[in-house]
């Protein structure tokens, strides 16, 4: 295949070499230290896969070094002290589960509207992006490893709900980026701010023309405009380039750019996308990321696991070993990302220590969602204790939305209400 990316490159990854000098210096260049009060920035990532898990292997017991991990989590063993296994949280009623709405429900906490009109709610990551996104080139990174489906399910829901986790408003799912290369480019050349820069350049040119023809008395107002344009332009430029100081190292970064096109297989695809998130967090290009690994009602195939059927077909046979291996596979992808973040030094710890990275599925088994399979990693700058297995199954307060309130609060965004929750979850 023309666009095939060699596995070797993938395994090297974009930043797999720990603590390159330029990456460390990135922190020193951070343009917006004031926005974090001089502290290291906190980041949030959410990885989603649909159609449920294989429960017999999905468990963990105990805390700290002694934490025991179920077979699904085997890959997480070296990182057990950096994760929290959280069991028993749930969304109410019809928010998740079923064939065609779980992706939209998982991070919004609401049941999307049936019928032709698309209506859900602003998702938690996008609330964070809207409140915190000003500090970075990209307010958020919204990635997907499976393309959105645009049809209509017989349960009465649009398939948009099955394939969009991030919603920037109740009616607007955030278009997700499928291509690792373009996701990579967006870190360094945010299309949005690049366009703005081009626009402002153009405006300055016009201002020059106008100023040439203007009388002295007119020029003051025009200069005022030009000064404002220049100042905004400088700020954008600083955001685009300043932080990393790409000047001396841009070639080495460019070398790590994934090839154009799409990897043929999902494992390669996921890892390239994880590399992009890790790089984005490490270089503070964004602090918010979501990645949809597999849609709700997913058509992903796993030939490299020796499986020929699609994800969704296996999910109906969730007891089977095939689905167990698929579940394990997705946890491994999660392990890859948090392992990578943990290998990146930052301050006295790792980038992961400043993050909260969640892996969640919107169903438990067979398209039912009595509880949400959920893993959480990273200490969020000391705001979250890790290395624990928590069980809320029999607790009165077991709302996923309450967990979101907690995370947002600890990132400095306080909300009175989210989904069905009005109180944060005590974790």
């Amino acid at each position: 295949m023309r666009s095939k990316v060699s596995r070797r490159v993938v395994l090297q990854g974009i930043g797999a070499t720990v603590a390159l000098p330029w990456l460390e210096s990135a922190r020193l260049f951070a343009a917006d230290r004031e926005s974090t009060g001089g502290a290291l920035p906190k980041r949030f990532a959410f990885l989603f896969f649909g159609d449920g898990i294989h429960p017999p292997e999905w468990w963990a017991k105990g805390n700290g070094a002694a934490m025991e991990l179920g077979p699904a989590f085997a890959s997480l063993a070296p990182l057990r002290q950096k994760i929290n296994f959280i069991n028993g949280l749930a969304h109410p009623g019809e928010v998740v589960g079923g064939h065609a709405r779980g992706a939209a429900g998982i991070l919004t906490g609401v049941q999307p509207k049936g019928g032709r009109e698309i209506h859900a709610e602003t998702s938690m990551d996008q609330i964070l992006a809207q409140r915190l996104g000003d500090a970075t080139v990209l307010p958020s990174l919204v990635l997907a490893c499976e393309r959105p489906v645009s049809g209509f399910h017989e349960s009465g829901y649009s398939m948009m709900y099955s394939s969009h986790v991030s919603w920037s408003s109740p009616v607007s799912p955030v278009p997700s980026e499928l291509y690792p290369s373009l996701a990579f480019d967006s870190l360094f050349e945010s299309q949005g701010s690049r366009t703005h820069l081009s626009v402002l350049d153009h405006v300055l040119e016009q201002l020059n023309d106008v100023a040439r023809q203007a009388s002295n008395s007119d020029r003051a107002r025009i200069d005022e405009y030009a000064t404002s344009v220049r100042e905004v332009e400088q700020r954008l430029t600083k955001l685009n380039q300043g932080q990393v100081g790409l000047a001396g190292v841009s070639e080495s970064v460019k070398d790590r750019r994934p090839a154009d096109g799409l990897p043929t297989q999902i494992d390669e695809h996921t890892r390239l996308m994880s590399d992009v998130i890790a790089l984005a967090f490490q270089t503070d290009r964004t602090r918010i990321a979501t990645m949809l690994l597999a849609n709700n009602l997913s058509g992903q195939v796993y030939p490299f696991l020796g499986l020929r059927d699609d994800h969704h077909s296996f999910s109906h046979n969730w007891q089977g070993q095939e689905f167990a291996s698929i579940t394990r596979f997705w946890v491994e992808q999660y392990t890859y990302l948090i392992g990578k973040l943990d290998a990146m030094q930052e301050g006295d710890g790792s980038v992961l220590d400043q993050c909260c990275v969640i892996l969640a599925n919107e169903q438990w088994t067979a398209h039912n969602a009595p509880k949400i399979p959920l893993l959480m990693a990273g200490g969020l700058g000391g705001k979250v204790e890790t290395g624990r297995s928590l069980d809320f199954e029999n607790s009165r307060d077991r709302k996923v939305s309450a967990l979101y309130l907690t995370i947002m609060d600890r990132m400095g965004v306080t909300m009175q209400k989210f989904g069905d929750a009005t109180e944060p979850l005590a974790i």
């Binding site: 698309i118 049809g151 607007s172 499928l178 366009t195 016009q206 404002s228 905004v232 058509g299 969704h312």
Partner: protein, 1128 residues
């Protein structure tokens, strides 16, 4: 009260002084160096005698030092302040009472001296256009311009900070409208937000009412447009039937009218009405069903009224519906079902269905059908309702020569638990079947005997469980409670077959459960007819004709999924509207609909969406791609839309579906229907993708031209080569950076909206000395922003393009046209709202709303809207400006009418169909209201919390409306209670007490009484007899001139009689300041006088104001680039 208001008053004289541009100052000083000095000769002696004891360098009471002014030119340089000095002396305010007083003659001489100095100077400067600073658009101008540019009211400045006011108190002046980085960021975000409403269509750029940047929004936009179109053109057959019927019985006068004209008169499709008319007219001579249609048609009596529909008309409508079911193709259930069907065959099925909607299906003619009755249920033994159930079956003559010969064989009627009669003995046993004969013989032997089981016509022997009936006939089978128990859970199936001897007739079978069948056109009525017999043959043509006129649907839109009803989970838009297009739509409408579909396909990239969805669906839902051979295929792959990959996909897919291909080609080894179907699908995909690419190319070219046109309108001048090139370069840059065509177009449009040419009012100064005409484009822009707060429209631009706008006749003609345009509401809202200080009412409401039941947002919005409606009306009807004071009419909607009391509400409900409508109401003066003073918004804006404020109300009238100046109150004035109810005495008494102090009274006597006259209106402007605490209202007052007056009527009379000039002058000055977007200068004095004179000549009509101003040099000219210090 400490110190005195007097001091304050003088102090503020200074604050009345507005910045006069340095340029003017220099110019004035230069001119006056050697002039003979009236000031020294005639004013200074007066000042020394009466003024300078207080107003000198050391004391400078009221911060006025009169010794500073030693020549006439100093006076003209400080003309605003001297205007007030004159006013004070003339009105006897100065010198103060306890000082020596000048004689009347001395007073007059002093004031006339200053006035003549000022006028002399003003005349010299007359016609100086002044300096109009370049400025950004105000928020309202930005919003309106964007609205007129895009056609969508996006209001991008909603989150901008409010604009500061300058000049004569308006927010359209260069003195106040600045720019800052944080505001610029908002502009950038706003420009981007606006450009997100842009959508690229096949014919270029369009704007949507919401941002269209994702597939979901693209689909919402284009799909809804089609559905709206369908709904607008939906056919109600009965309307056409009625039109035909009324046409047949039309009056003698209408005899000559064609059916086309008739249709148009009734708002129906002429084409379709003609088809129905022709079909109905020929129907009586037709055959079969259509002949019956004709008979029913002829049976309708003549109309008895314009609206009444006789039952015969409804009968015809019902019969037509019945025939549609009987004759047209039946729509396959799969069309609406959401099964996991094969997309390719589903598309084929939909195509066939769409093609057959108006076709006769000969398969509907059957000589054998199976009737099934509802499932039987045992009734509880002791239930009170336990009674017999009857099963009925009626046989009626339908068609054919032989009215008596309809023999029907009832083959083995049987009760069964299954959903169908048993196919064999095994099944019969398993389903616990029992034949009707067995049941009847046991429970109703009489009926069994009557039916004569086992006997055919003429005594021939037939199957023992079957019987033969001759239509017409009715069978009634009573089932007792006991029998029902036995048959619990079973259904009766009766297979009916037309007897072979009955080839010349056909029979209706009408089942009835529980009661005899009554409705011959019910949905479950069946027809028995020999499909190959004479009767069927004779009916074929008329059936075809019927279906041609009455298809089973005109178009198909799925209730839930809209047009995206392709197949199961995947969006596949499918067009199914042939009957509508061919029979109903005009050519123009059909073209519009084609265009809408083209847009849907283009904007949603429907072909690409379809093929990607197909790959996902075939793998995920149908498992067809669960095969190593398809591993190369991912729905996300960008190359999926390229020929190579598509061809590879098609080949493997055909193989998988068992089609053998000739080696290496896309040709089947032998002709193969499966191949045709699949290859047809892929061909359709290829064609769709190719068409898209081609359309995109054309659309891009058109869009670039559209952008130029948009920029030209936004810039309010023709583009030059540099502009075009610069926009094109930006576009290319964005494209090279990997932006899509649409995103790049959006980027360029963002740049247009950020351009100084759009954001700024610029004037390129003309070369030369003296005043030079504005170029026509700049003049057009000035005119349209003055009147509309927005861009010039096409007509104004065209006039500017012809360079005739400086022609005064043309300029006035354009002004008149624009005054009559609805967009004049911008002037009505902005000018009056800012002048009279209620524009911020909605955001700064002084009222404690919860204290007043019914004081809600709809009412507030209506109150805010009222003066806009009234002033728009006064301008457009060219009424006298004095009607602002004494208008006897106003405009109200439902809530405001209620608010204004019984009389207005009564008047309103007599003329209004909906409470949302605005209507003119009259007779306000008689109700004690009238003009602006009596309006809810004014009375409310000048109230406070939970009480009225006569001080604020009076001050508003005297200061804002009549232009009288006062110093601000001292800091330590006592607070009045905020709640009228809790106050110990009436507000009026409280005020009277607190302004008893002579020093307070000095100002307050000028306005308090005017406010007290308005006490007959509560804090939110409702008429009242008592205040909120129940104290009776006293609104009889002694006005500043000693007259007694009562209420608004008294006030209006007072202003008309005694303050008219104040009002006119104030209005003129404000009007001019708003029109020019700058402070009024001394040099404008002659123009102000001309405005007053023009009003007098023209019965005070609004047009005199507008026309005098737009004709003035101030409006049409600008200072030349070499404007000299000598003012030339």
């Amino acid at each position: 009260m400490t110190k005195s208001c007097v001091e304050r008053r003088m102090k503020t004289l200074r604050s009345f002084q507005f910045a006069v541009t340095t340029l003017v100052l220099i110019a004035i000083m230069a001119v006056h160096a050697n002039a003979a000095d009236l000031f020294v000769d005639r004013f200074q002696p007066f000042a020394e005698k009466f003024c300078v004891r207080c107003h000198n360098r050391e004391k400078a009471r009221g911060e006025l030092d009169l010794t500073r002014y030693t020549e006439a030119r100093h006076v003209s340089a400080d003309f605003r302040r001297w205007n007030h000095v004159v006013e004070f002396i003339r009105d006897g305010e100065m010198p103060p009472e306890d000082e020596p007083q000048p004689t009347i003659e001395e007073r007059r001489a002093a004031t006339e001296t200053v006035e003549s100095i000022l006028l002399e100077e003003a005349k010299k400067r007359a016609g100086d256009p002044g300096v109009v600073l370049p400025r950004r658009l105000s928020n309202i101008e930005y919003d309106r311009s964007v609205r007129d540019l895009t056609g969508i009211d996006i209001q991008p400045t909603r989150d901008f900070p409010p604009d500061p006011a300058g000049g004569e108190g308006f927010d359209n002046t260069g003195e106040s409208l600045g720019m800052s980085p944080s505001l610029l960021k908002k502009y950038l975000a706003a420009a981007q937000h606006v450009s997100e409403h842009m959508v690229l269509k096949t014919d270029g750029i369009a704007f949507a009412p919401f941002p269209v940047t994702s597939y979901n929004e693209q689909k919402k936009l284009t799909e809804q447009a089609i559905i709206d179109f369908y709904q607008k053109h939906a056919v109600r057959v009965v309307d056409f039937l009625e039109a035909c019927w009324r046409y047949r019985h039309r009056d003698e006068a209408d005899r000559a009218l064609g059916i086309d004209a008739w249709a148009e008169h009734r708002g129906l499709s002429p084409k379709y009405l003609a088809l129905i008319w022709e079909t109905l007219s020929k129907a009586p001579q037709s055959s079969g069903y259509l002949k019956q249609v004709g008979q029913l048609w002829e049976a309708i009596p003549a109309p008895t009224g314009a609206n009444a529909r006789p039952p015969e008309l409804s009968a015809l409508e019902r019969f037509i519906e019945f025939c549609q079911r009987r004759l047209c193709y039946h729509e396959p259930a799969l069309i609406q079902a959401n099964a996991g069907n094969w997309p390719i065959s589903h598309l084929d099925l939909r195509a066939r269905t769409a093609a057959q909607r108006d076709q006769f299906d000969p398969g509907n003619f059957k000589n054998r059908i199976t009737i099934s009755f509802d499932r039987l249920k045992a009734v509880p033994v002791n239930a009170a309702s336990a009674k017999n159930v009857t099963l009925n079956l009626r046989f009626d003559y339908a068609f054919g020569d032989d009215r008596e010969g309809g023999l029907v064989v009832l083959r083995r009627p049987i009760f069964s638990k299954a959903n169908a009669p048993p196919r064999n003995d095994d099944e019969a046993k398993k389903r616990e079947t029992v034949t009707l004969r067995e049941v009847l013989e046991q429970h109703a032997p009489a009926i069994a005997q009557m039916l004569a089981f086992g006997k055919g016509p003429s005594g021939a022997e037939i199957d023992a469980d079957s019987c033969v009936v001759r239509a017409p006939a009715q069978i009634e089978i009573p089932l007792s409670a006991e029998l029902l128990r036995q048959l619990d859970g079973k259904q009766l199936f009766v297979e009916c077959e037309l007897h072979e001897q009955s080839g010349n007739c056909s029979v209706y079978v009408l089942p009835g459960f529980g009661k005899p069948p009554e409705d011959p056109y019910a949905a479950n009525v069946e027809l028995l007819i020999d499909p190959n017999g004479n009767v069927a043959t004779s009916m074929a043509d008329s059936s075809v004709e019927f279906c041609r006129a009455f298809p089973n649907r005109y178009f198909f839109v799925d209730n839930e999924r809209g047009l995206a009803a392709g197949f199961h989970l995947v969006d596949g838009f499918f067009r199914d509207d042939r009957p509508l297009v061919e029979k109903v739509l005009s050519e123009q409408d059909a073209r519009e609909l084609d265009g809408l579909w083209r847009e849907l396909d283009f904007v949603t990239q429907s072909t690409e969406t379809l093929i990607r969805g197909f790959v996902w669906f075939e793998r995920s839902e149908r498992h067809v791609l669960h095969d190593k051979r398809f591993d190369f295929l991912r729905p996300e792959d960008p190359r999926l839309v390229e020929d190579d990959l598509l061809t590879q996909f098609e080949k493997v897919y055909l193989e998988k579906m068992g089609v053998k291909l000739t080696d290496g080609t896309l040709e089947p080894e032998m002709p193969n229907a499966q191949f045709d179907l699949i290859h047809g699908f892929f061909a359709r995909i290829r064609a769709g993708l190719a068409l898209y690419r081609e359309q995109l190319k054309a659309a891009e070219q058109q869009a670039l031209a559209d952008l130029d046109a948009l920029a030209e309108r936004a810039f309010r001048r023709p583009l030059n080569a540099g502009d075009v090139e610069s926009l094109r370069t930006l576009y290319e840059t964005l494209r090279k950076r990997g932006q899509s065509v649409e995103a790049s177009l959006r980027g360029v449009f963002t740049a247009v909206l950020m351009s100084p040419n759009f954001v700024f009012h610029l004037s390129t100064s003309a070369p030369g000395p003296g005043a030079r005409p504005l170029d026509d484009d700049a003049l057009a822009s000035r005119l349209s922003y003055f009147l509309w707060s927005s861009l010039p429209d096409d007509e104004l631009r065209a006039v500017a393009r012809m360079r005739t706008l400086q022609d005064q006749t043309e300029l006035v003609a354009q002004t008149r046209r624009m005054l009559n345009d609805p967009r004049i509401d911008a002037f009505a809202r902005e000018f009056f709202g800012q002048w009279l200080r209620y524009r911020d009412y909605l955001s700064k409401d002084p009222i404690n709303a919860p204290a007043f039941a019914g004081y809600d947002d709809p009412l507030r919005e209506a109150m805010f809207e009222e003066p806009v409606r009234l002033t728009t009306y006064l301008i457009q009807q060219d009424r006298p400006i004095t009607e602002l004071i004494d208008s006897d009419v106003t405009f109200v909607n439902g809530v405001l009418a209620e608010h204004y009391g019984r009389e207005i509400a009564g008047q309103y409900s007599g003329i209004s169909a909906s409470p949302a409508d605005w209507h003119r109401v009259v007779g306000l003066r008689e109700l004690g209201r009238g003009g602006l003073i009596g309006m809810g918004v004014i009375l409310t804006k000048t109230s406070k919390g939970e009480r009225t404020s006569p001080i604020k109300r009076g001050f508003w009238a005297v200061h804002h409306l009549l232009g009288q100046h006062f110093p601000p109150p001292p800091a330590d004035v006592p607070e009045l209670p905020s709640n009228e109810k809790l106050a110990a005495t009436s507000i009026r008494e409280l005020i009277t007490a607190h302004t008893a102090n002579a020093k307070c009274a000095m100002c307050h006597t000028h306005f308090d009484s005017l406010g007290m006259a308005l006490e007959g209106f509560d804090p939110i402007g409702r008429a009242r007899m008592n205040d909120l605490a129940g104290r009776p209202i006293d609104n009889v007052v002694v006005l500043p001139n000693g007259q007694t007056a009562q209420g608004i009527s008294g006030l209006i009379e007072y202003i008309r009689e005694h303050r008219r000039r104040d009002f006119v002058r104030t209005l003129c000055r404000k009007f001019l300041g708003y029109a020019l977007g700058r402070s009024v200068l001394l040099s404008d004095q002659p123009l102000l006088m001309e405005m007053e004179a023009a009003l007098e000549r023209n019965d005070d009509r609004f047009s005199a104001l507008f026309e005098t101003v737009v004709r003035s040099p101030q409006f049409r000219l600008q200072r030349g680039a070499e404007w000299g210090a000598d003012g030339q």
